[in-house]
Amino acid sequence: MLELKKIYKWVNNGNQRVFLLKDINLTIQEGAFVSIMGPSGSGKSTLLNVIGMLDGFNEGEYRFLGESVHQLKEKQRTNLYKQHIGFVFQAYHLIDELTVYENIETPLLYQNVKGSERKAMVADILDRFNIVAKKDLFPAQLSGGQQQLVGIARALIARPKLLLADEPTGNLNSRQGEEIMELFTQLNKEGTTIVQVTHSEKNAAYGNHIISLLDGMIENSGIQN
């Protein structure tokens, strides 16, 4: 599905070059469930952002579904990730001023999906996530677990091929975290490729491919079956 080749990313601090990512080579197959692990500051989130095309890189090649991401223009890149990638954040990042329904609907607005179709799609996912009753509530009226559920629903609404999750359970208690992980596993079985960043060994174990990062380099990469 995607392939990173010799990815370097750095920032210049004075005359010193600080590497955020160093010589990253990574291939993720369609249908994989990848967990990225590593201590704070090891470059997990940066790598995820690079994969999600939110962040650029200084050197290397990135191919996504056969397209050379590093050669695309901003607009084409936006179109590419808008269609194929969904994001889930540790802090949920729901829009406080919008209801649950409206939050979930937002990505469809940006993809110019027609009104009736939008309605159907949102209704479908509300139903699937069992949050129909909450559709008119605002984020502040939900618990953390429920907010994250909405965040995931929003990430999935446009039926992306790849789901990127940055510590999706970081702000949740363990029971809520487990439920989210169960959900990810379920989604993965249904065909969604998932890449998650996590601190927790336990959550990492839900995946079938664990990548350990240290100081911006891949320390360990193992595919489990």
Binding site: S45, D55, K82, F87, F89, Q90, H93, I95, D96, E97
Partner: protein
């Protein structure tokens, strides 16, 4: 404690230096405008109030009943002055005066043409200008005397001590002795002059003037000042003087005149009489600009309120912590008010400097003489009072809003800003309603001026020049005329009792065919020499021009006059004027001699052989003006060596008729652009704040696939909506006031839809530009950065 407040306030100001600059800039511009207008308004109100006992000084006016319409004239007769002096015991002093004109004063080789008046002996007992040398009682004992102002004495004699009892050659004809020196007449005096010569001098040198003046109430060519006895009110005098002219039975003009008085402090502001009452005038402009000044200040204060409350979430945590450690609400209020007082004071310092810097410019702009009364205690008292008021006005709301935060909530990270966003929007709407209304007003005022300027004046003022007649020119008029024409300098030369751009004399037609019993029609009256119509370029509508200089039994009316007289076939009809019969020889097309905004005055022209007071001559085509003036100077100096050659171009005189409107237009444009600018400063700050506040949301939306354009629209549309609402409010409000303003003019534009659309588009465009800077900046920011902050 207070030091601590100041310190914290200072740090906060420095910390958010961008906002502080926006705040102070907006507020200081607002204050500067308010200060300038305040000084200007104060100056207008100070008119004629500087003399002792001004409250018992009056000017005589005549209400004239013209077929049911009451017209008010300030022109009066010597006979009226005499009647008031002898018949009304409540009146202490009466002094008649002419309307001031330039005379030539000669001292040694120094020859100056200066503006002065001839006035009755008691003039300085009524207008009690302080004497530096001499006194009001003794000044005019001798007819051949003159009282100078301090600065004229200086320029004629070097200093005022040298001037007293010296001799001045007056108009190259008589010697006058300087009997008094008064302080200069201040710029806020309605009746302004550089010297006064007693009327007794005029009567001594030309006794006929006195005989004529005393013979009839209709010989109205003077103004009269009176002072009432102490303790006498106008109400006591009014009934006695009202019908004082009615003793002259058989004089229709006098029988229809009602004498009234206008108190000195109303001369300047209540200059217009409507239906015989001084209800209007310059005051309406003074009021209008007071309101505009206040509006600009309020717009600036709104900026302050909006920017401060908008940033309150930045301060929320501080409030929470302070409350948690025991601060009471009142401490916080004092703290925030201290902060706003500091900013207000800073803004005032800048405003004061701007004002000092701009005052000369403002003075030329408004043709006034305003200065900052920096030495006046009351000025500083007023300024301090205003500073406290503005502090409360601008800082009060934010102070109470911020200090009311619940500490537990704000410390938990609750953002309290949402609550005030409605009132913030309301304030923005108020700001932009005012700004848009000012834009609309500016456009309409300019359209009205342009409309009147493009109006055909009915005659030709291009290359037409005027010179005041003097004794020497009068004697040599025929020679002068011949020389000007034979040398090809002027194509045509004439004289008249009025200049080309005004009518100085109004009188009644005593009889005309079809006149109703008791009917009176007051008409502009101009006595002219040969070639008048040719010189000023008026075309005959029907009939003929005066046949020659001695065509003294013919009269020519303009079209409006014929309509008033209701004459169907005017040519050849007989009328009576001043007890003499005239035949209507012709009708001339209307010319806008008085006002380009009104219909032409009904006017009649009589031909006289003797040259009149205004010399009118048109420069020949294809001559260079500068060269012509050199030639004119030498010719005029030849025929009138004692007088400096002075001239005016009639088209420039005509242009001064637009002065008040043009001033209004310029000031409205200035204040409109300033208020738009201040509003935009506020909007700029708000847009920055909103972009900052919605940073996270923008990040999320971008991650979800929103394009730069979509985010830009998202952030800008709220502001555009507010401005659009403002336009909808401003349009009917400004329509109401401008429609009322336009009713002042007979010749006016109709307010079209396009002005409102244009103003709205302008406001929206300015808004888009202002807001876009911030919203595009927010839209192109990398979402990763904004989301990482969590």
């Amino acid at each position: 404690m207070f030091r601590n407040y100041v310190k914290i306030a200072w740090r906060n100001i420095l910390n958010s230096i961008g906002y502080s600059i926006l705040n102070v800039t907006g507020l200081s511009i607002g204050m500067c405008v308010a200060l300038l207008i305040g000084l200007w308004v104060h100056h207008q109100y100070s008119f004629d109030r500087f003399l002792p006992e001004y409250q018992s000084v009056y000017r005589v006016q005549r209400n004239f009943n013209s077929n049911g319409d009451t017209l008010t004239f300030p022109t009066t007769s010597l006979k009226l002055a005499d009647a008031l002096r002898t018949q009304i015991p409540e009146i202490q002093y009466v002094a008649e005066s002419d309307w001031t004109r330039n005379h030539v004063l000669l001292v040694g080789t120094k020859k100056l043409s200066v503006n002065g008046a001839t006035a009755g002996t008691d003039i300085f007992k009524i207008l009690q200008h302080p004497f530096i040398k001499g006194n009001a009682d003794a000044a005019f004992k001798n007819a051949y005397s003159i009282v100078l102002t301090q600065s004229l004495a200086k320029s004629l004699f070097g200093n005022e001590d040298a001037a007293i009892n010296k001799t001045i050659r007056f108009d190259n004809a008589h010697n006058l002795t300087v009997t008094g020196i008064i302080k200069d007449v201040p710029s806020n005096a309605t009746f302004s002059f550089d010297y006064i010569v007693p009327s007794s001098f005029v009567y001594a040198t030309n006794p006929q003037i006195k005989t004529d003046g005393l013979s009839s109430f209709s010989n109205n060519n003077l103004q009269i000042f009176v002072k009432l006895k102490p303790g006498v009110s106008y109400e006591q005098v009014a009934p006695k003087i009202r019908n004082i002219e009615h003793t002259e039975k058989g004089n229709i003009n006098a029988m229809n005149s009602y004498v009234i008085l206008q108190r000195m402090d109303r001369w300047h502001l209540y200059s217009n009489y409507i239906n015989g009452k001084d209800t209007a005038g310059f005051l309406s402009y003074v009021k209008m600009f007071s309101i505009i000044g206040l509006l600009v200040l309020i717009i600036a204060c709104i900026n302050f309120v909006n920017l401060t409350t908008a940033r309150s979430d930045k301060r929320a945590k501080e409030v929470g912590v302070r409350k948690a450690v025991g601060s009471q609400k009142k401490h916080l209020i004092i703290q925030f008010l201290t902060e706003s007082f500091l900013l207000t004071t800073a803004a005032f310092v800048f405003a004061f400097l701007f004002t000092l810097l701009l005052l000369p410019l403002f003075n030329t702009f408004t043709q006034s003489h305003i200065s900052v009364p920096a030495g006046s205690f009351y000025f500083w008292l007023a300024v301090t009072g205003c500073l406290f008021l503005i502090t409360l006005l601008a800082g009060g709301r934010p102070a109470f809003h911020l200090s009311s935060f619940n500490p537990v909530k704000v410390l938990k990270g609750f953002s309290p800003t949402g609550q005030s966003s409605f009132s913030r929007k309301l304030l923005v709407i108020i700001q932009f309603s005012c700004s848009v209304a000012l834009i609309i007003s500016t456009l309409i005022i300019y359209k009205q001026i342009q409309y009147a300027k493009n109006r055909p004046s009915g005659y030709s003022l291009n290359r037409l020049m005027t010179t005041n007649m003097n004794d020497d020119l009068q004697k040599n008029f025929t020679a002068l005329k011949n020389e000007l024409i034979s040398k090809g300098i002027a194509s045509s030369v004439t004289t008249a009792t009025s200049p080309a751009t005004d009518v100085w004399w109004h009188s009644d037609v005593d009889y005309w065919p079809g006149k109703n019993a008791g009917e009176t029609i007051e008409m502009g009256t101009i006595q002219v020499s040969e070639d008048y119509f040719k010189t000023v370029g008026m075309k005959m509508f029907e009939g003929r021009d005066f046949s020659n200089a001695y065509d003294s039994t013919s009269v020519i009316f303009n079209e409006t006059a014929i309509q008033r007289l209701r004459l169907k076939n005017p040519i050849g009809q007989k009328i009576t004027w001043h007890e003499k019969n005239y035949t209507i020889a012709g009708v001339v097309k209307d010319a806008l001699m008085v006002s380009p905004f009104k219909t032409a005055d009904p006017t009649m022209f009589f031909c006289v052989a003797a040259p009149q007071g205004n010399l009118l001559y048109r420069l020949s085509a294809n001559t260079e003006t500068q060269h012509s003036i050199v030639q004119l100077t030498s010719i005029f100096n030849k025929y009138a060596p004692a007088y400096p050659y002075e001239y005016a171009f009639s088209d420039q005189q005509y242009a001064t008729k637009f002065n008040l409107e043009q001033l209004t237009g310029k000031l409205a444009a200035l204040f409109a652009s300033l208020s738009v600018f201040i509003s935009c400063l506020g909007l700029f700050g708000l847009a920055a704040y909103v972009a900052e506040q919605r940073r996270k949301e923008i990040g999320i939306r971008k991650v979800l696939g929103a394009s730069v354009r979509q985010v830009w629209i998202l952030l800008s549309k709220d502001f555009l909506l507010l401005v659009l609402i403002s336009c909808l409010i401003a349009a009917p409000v400004s329509f109401y006031f401008l429609h009322k303003w336009l009713l002042n003019y007979d010749y006016r534009i109709s307010i079209g839809f396009s002005v409102f659309v244009l103003s709205a588009l302008l406001a929206l465009l300015v808004t888009i530009v202002t807001v876009s800077f911030q919203s595009i900046k927010a839209a192109i920011a990398n979402p990763v950065k904004s989301l990482r902050t969590e």
